[in-house]
Symmetry: C2
DNA sequence: GCAACTTTGTGCGTGCCTTCACAAGCGACT
DNA sequence: AGTCGCTTGTGAAGGCACGCACAAAGTTGC
């Protein structure tokens, strides 16, 4: 199941896409952002060492990550930023916009709806949903909040390809089912629930409470272990000129 | 019950803590939440199969995870929920409260400050900071927003052990340095920047834009590959009675 | 008290990810 | 034109995590 039938460029691309390790994909997105910042600063090329330092990654790992999308580096020089950005965007599927629907306009949802980092990066939030009558009908960032029952119709109309769920836990599975039945195949879940989905649907979960608990574990560990620097396997990040130019709220 | 007639329980605990794989720690937090829900529903014991199904994890992996914190299961029966919860809380360092400071009360920060999932789980947000004069002085959930320059003093007073950074990217490193110099050793970073910290400081990063880009990659993959069900390595999660009882916004 | 059944705890093989180390390739300088 | 220095791309090794499969241990029924 690994061999492409014939060697047309589309098949090659598909084979490559499929074979990129999940861990690498996550880092590619980070490289892409850093490259954008470097381009803004007027840089035209970067070496793997520079880019690795700026993103806190091992240089060899970075080169291997980039090798998955092809050879776009010049030996003795580095990577041409513009070309690399273009290729990364194509690989990550950022060459056309992906409409995003957000369900749950409560506390967190409201913040996500107003988060400028999405629209500016090719992910316009084009639909908002909730069940609360007090919320349905209001506008956030120029988008009107619709009732959850309108999900199938609105998602179809606006060609939504990604759904974000920021509802309370108990409501999440129902909302998820609605999204899936509306053709949404990728879901970003903020609710503290494990979603049950058909195998063709991709779910990523962001669990803030779990993140804090992981940190708490490390606090406890440091306390118990005393703070012997040798035994703590903390990751040290070398130098790296401070990257600036973000885009959060 | 089974084995450990504790000999030097502190040392044993420390050794154990150090050796728990990072991936397991993340799952332990998930188990803990699910166990809490089960307890609320009146259950007294769970088998590894039940808990695994409810959390979308392989049963063997779950048992191995739990084995890292000791033998608290009863063969032929399962795990006694109350005892397991207690042990998990101790292992994750949830046996006493951890004061959290949040820097950046903009769009996302405001939502995090109001997020009930933190305080209810042993992570009271006890300090808020920003640089915006319009925000400094206002109250959110009964907490007053202070100026960033007050970080050292306030963090010391309120014994903050965890810092959350929800500032724009360019401000993050400066804020981080302030937190670290105030004695904060664990940081949850929402800013799209790789923080440079001393090796004894633990940083976890939540990057919403990257999460969406990873999803976009999978959209692109599905498109290119057609949707042959066999070649897509999606994870299928079996049955599992729908968990309810969450605690998001 | 014994046998059959259930469920935990774990040794082990497998595969993925990371990291090292080095050859190949490219540009610059003489 | 040739050589030198720098940087990429990758083969190979090590480590970690996953999941199977089974023995150990407990419970239930007779």
């Amino acid at each position: 199941m690994t061999k492409p039938p014939h060697a047309g460029s589309a098949d090659v691309a598909a084979a490559r896409l499929r074979s990129i390790p999940e861990a690498s994909v996550a880092r590619l997105a980070v490289y892409l952002r850093m490259l954008g910042e470097l381009a803004e600063q007027g840089a035209e090329t970067v070496s793997s060492d520079e880019l690795a330092a700026a993103t806190g990654v091992n240089p060899a790992k970075l080169r291997k990550d980039l090798s998955y999308i092809g050879s776009y580096g010049i030996r003795g020089v580095g990577y041409e930023i513009a070309a690399l950005v273009r290729q990364l965007e194509r690989t990550l599927g950022l060459d056309h916009l992906r409409a995003v629907a957000l369900v749950g306009v409560g506390n967190l949802g409201h913040a996500l709806a107003g988060y400028s980092g999405f629209g500016g990066r090719g992910f316009p939030v084009t639909a908002l949903f909730d069940v609360d009558p007090d919320l349905v009908g209001i506008h956030i960032n120029g988008i009107v909040v619709e009732h959850v029952r309108a999900i199938p119709q609105v998602c179809a109309e606006r060609e939504v390809t990604i759904g974000m769920i920021a509802t309370p836990g108990p409501a999440a599975q129902g909302v998820c089912d609605l999204l899936v039945s509306s053709g949404v195949r990728c879901i970003l879940n903020f609710a503290p629930v494990v979603l049950q989905v058909p195998h063709e649907v991709e779910v990523r979960k962001v669990d803030l409470a779990v993140e804090l608990q992981i940190l708490a574990f490390h606090v406890a560990r440091k306390h118990l272990a005393g703070q012997d620097p040798a035994t703590v396997n903390g990751h040290v990040i070398e130098h790296a000129s401070n990257g600036s130019g973000g885009m959060l709220p």
